[in-house]
């Protein structure tokens, strides 16, 4: 969730709660106040009537008065009772479902020794209408207030956080091997100033470390060449000595094999460093299918020995501008893997179509771990022949040349797909 959404979400929850609570509360309070004033006026009316009643009034007068004033109703009552006040819903017309609320006060009055029940009514319709309008206006006001606040808040936040987002986008586009120092925009917010400063320090420090490490790898690899060469030459001199026993020969053989492995390892690491240093520039136009055919040819001995069935499909000719050394390593590594890790009597299927080279081979039942195959020194199971650098090199070459590479494991086959013109 975005930062902005997060703050707005809290605000939104708070304001909706406030609205939900305030509007009914307001409704009840206003209703109570209105009712109270209606009651007060009814009581005043009753008091006036009582004080105006005297002995001179006849029963006939009372009946006339009651008939004339619709809000007043009189009827004889047998006993005395205390004043009662209540709300009643009364039908305005007969056969009408529409009921109108009335506030009524019932009181007992005595005229000429006779008790009468006096009922004074007042309609609440106007009051209810008033209440509804007040609540509506109030609700609208609240909604306007809340949304206005939200809007203002969002705008302010957006402005406040702008330097943060700017920094974020700069860091997202940051590549270690490309840039020397990152240029973060100046801001007058202390927190963001601190953030930018810390980030700049961190990145610069990391970049320095990266440079040192890069240099170290390259130097170390170069420095290793000489002792490896000396060791190699001494082994060969040792081979020439006589007498040489079988045991000694075995030891020398093993030493030489391991030394060769060391030399290869060293060369591969150096190659990786060089690729990362972008020492290989895309200089030539290369015919991919020619190159693939060349490698299939050079691994013929092994593929024949394993009795591999090789299928090649070159549907579209493909010429790319790239560095020939790198492309040779790329394709060589993939094809040699496809031959090396194949099973006897297995299949190797190569297709070139629409700028995509697909190399598919049978091999181990189990698929490779997609997230690990490009890691340096990643080896599957007990495999001991490989250096574990081949695919790391392949991936670096793809990255640097802006090709996309994909590994799939369809129907027990291992497939690597290189798209030379990926849509980015």
């Amino acid at each position: 969730m975005k930062l902005l959404t997060k703050t707005l979400k809290s605000y939104l929850i708070y304001s909706s709660l406030l609205l939900l609570v305030t509007v009914p509360l307001f409704y009840f309070v206003v209703k109570r106040v209105l009712l109270h004033s209606v009651d007060k006026s009814l009581k005043t009316q009753l008091r006036d009537i009582r004080s105006n009643l005297n002995a001179n009034i006849s029963t006939a007068d009372l009946q006339v008065w009651s008939r004339l004033d619709k809000d007043i109703h009189l009827e004889k009552s047998g006993t005395y009772f205390n004043d009662r006040i209540y709300t009643r819903y009364i039908k305005t017309r007969e056969n009408d479902d529409d009921q109108v609320p009335y506030r009524q006060i019932e009181s007992c009055i005595s005229v000429n020794g006779q008790y009468y029940k006096l009922t004074i009514s007042t309609s609440l319709v106007e009051n209810e209408d008033l209440l509804a309008s007040i609540v509506l206006v109030e609700a609208l006001l609240l909604v306007a207030l809340m949304s206005g606040m939200l809007w203002i808040n969002r705008n302010i936040s957006r402005k406040l956080w702008a330097p943060f987002y700017e920094t974020l986008s700069k860091i997202q586009g940051y590549e270690f091997n490309k840039h020397a120092s990152i240029d973060l925009k100046k801001t007058n917010t202390t927190e963001f100033m601190d953030l930018n400063r810390c980030l700049e320090n961190l990145l610069n420090k990391n970049y320095d470390t990266y440079l040192v490490q890069k240099e170290f790898t390259e130097n170390a690899s170069h420095e290793l060449q000489t002792p490896l060469a000396i060791f190699q030459s001494q082994l060969e001199l040792l081979m020439q000595t006589s007498p040489l026993t079988e045991e000694q020969a075995g030891l020398i053989n093993s030493l030489e094999t391991n030394n060769k492995r060391l030399a290869r390892l060293n060369r591969s690491l150096l190659l990786l460093t060089k690729i990362e240093n972008e020492e290989y520039q895309p200089t030539e136009f290369i015919d991919i299918s020619e190159l693939v055919k060349k490698f299939i040819q050079s691994y013929q001995y092994y593929s024949q020995k394993k009795e591999l069935k090789i299928m090649e499909e070159y549907n579209d000719p493909l010429m790319i501008q790239a560095n020939k050394t790198l492309i040779e390593i790329l394709i060589g590594n993939l094809i040699s893997n496809a031959v090396r890790h194949n099973i006897p009597g297995g299949r190797l299927w190569i297709a070139l179509q629409g700028g995509v080279l697909s190399i598919k081979n049978s091999g181990a039942e189990e698929g490779l771990e997609t997230d690990k195959i490009y890691q340096r020194f990643y080896k599957k199971g007990a495999e001991k022949d490989g250096l574990g650098l081949g695919l790391a090199i392949v991936q670096r070459i793809c990255n640097i040349s802006h090709f996309s590479i994909q590994y799939q494991h369809p129907e027990g086959m291992h497939e690597f797909k290189i798209n030379f013109f990926p849509v980015s």
Binding site: H222, Q225, A249, N253, Y302
Partner: protein
């Protein structure tokens, strides 16, 4: 035949000299550019082995100077750098060959003999060794004047053995020689057995002696 080794790594030089001395080569050593310049001015060499990184300068600068004096013939560059640009630059400057460290002494020896053969015997096209006669430009081998039908790899293999005659060459060095050092993706050296077996068969069938001896599975020796 005189060889000048321009290389500052004492121990490596010592090993090279020891290996090459058994081949009737006379080796001289120059540990830096200065010494090398003096030696080249005063003597003629059949082959110069030139390291690129030297304590007092770049080997390629030295090569450039040699080129001006038209003396680049027979130069083999020995470099720790395996970059294609260095290789191309070296060869453009007139070097005959380029060898990347670490290398096999047998490979170095084979390259030196190739360079020397090309220079010294430019008129002479045939190389004879007992019953074997090798037509170098035509890449054809005869036994008692009978032509052998060898594949390209078998021919390369035979020449490699002849260059390193009476020396043990390891399987690894044969494999690298046959496949080219760039192709080191296979640890499996099986393929050299096939080539050696076929070569031996063809040599003996043509009436030649079986000179290729296996040395305890470590390598082979071409005994003359």
């Amino acid at each position: 035949m005189k060889i000048l080794i321009i290389e500052d790594q004492q121990e490596l030089v010592k090993n090279m000299v020891r290996y090459l001395n058994t081949e009737s080569y006379l080796c001289e050593v120059a540990p830096d550019c200065e010494t090398a310049r003096r030696k080249i001015e005063s003597f003629e060499y059949d082959c110069i082995l030139l390291d690129v990184t030297l304590p007092d300068g770049n080997g390629l600068t030295l090569l450039n100077e040699l080129k001006k004096d038209n003396k680049t013939d027979g130069v083999i560059i020995i470099s720790a750098k395996n970059s294609i640009y260095d290789r191309i630059e070296g060869l453009n400057l007139g070097a005959d060959d380029y060898l990347v460290k670490p290398f096999h002494l047998s490979e170095l020896n084979a390259r030196i003999s190739a360079v020397i053969r090309r220079r010294k015997f430019s008129g002479q096209k045939l190389m004879t060794l007992n019953e074997l006669t090798i037509d170098l430009p035509g890449k054809v081998v005869f036994i008692y004047k009978k032509k052998l039908d060898l594949t390209r790899k078998e021919y390369d293999l035979l020449l490699f053995f002849v260059s390193n005659k009476n020396k043990v060459v390891s399987k690894n060095s044969i494999a690298e020689h046959l496949s080219g050092s760039d192709m080191d993706v296979f640890d499996n050296l099986d393929f050299i057995y096939t080539h050696i077996k076929n070569l031996k068969r063809k040599l003996t069938q043509a009436g030649g002696s079986d000179n290729i001896k296996s040395v305890y599975g470590m390598g082979y020796k071409f005994e003359v």
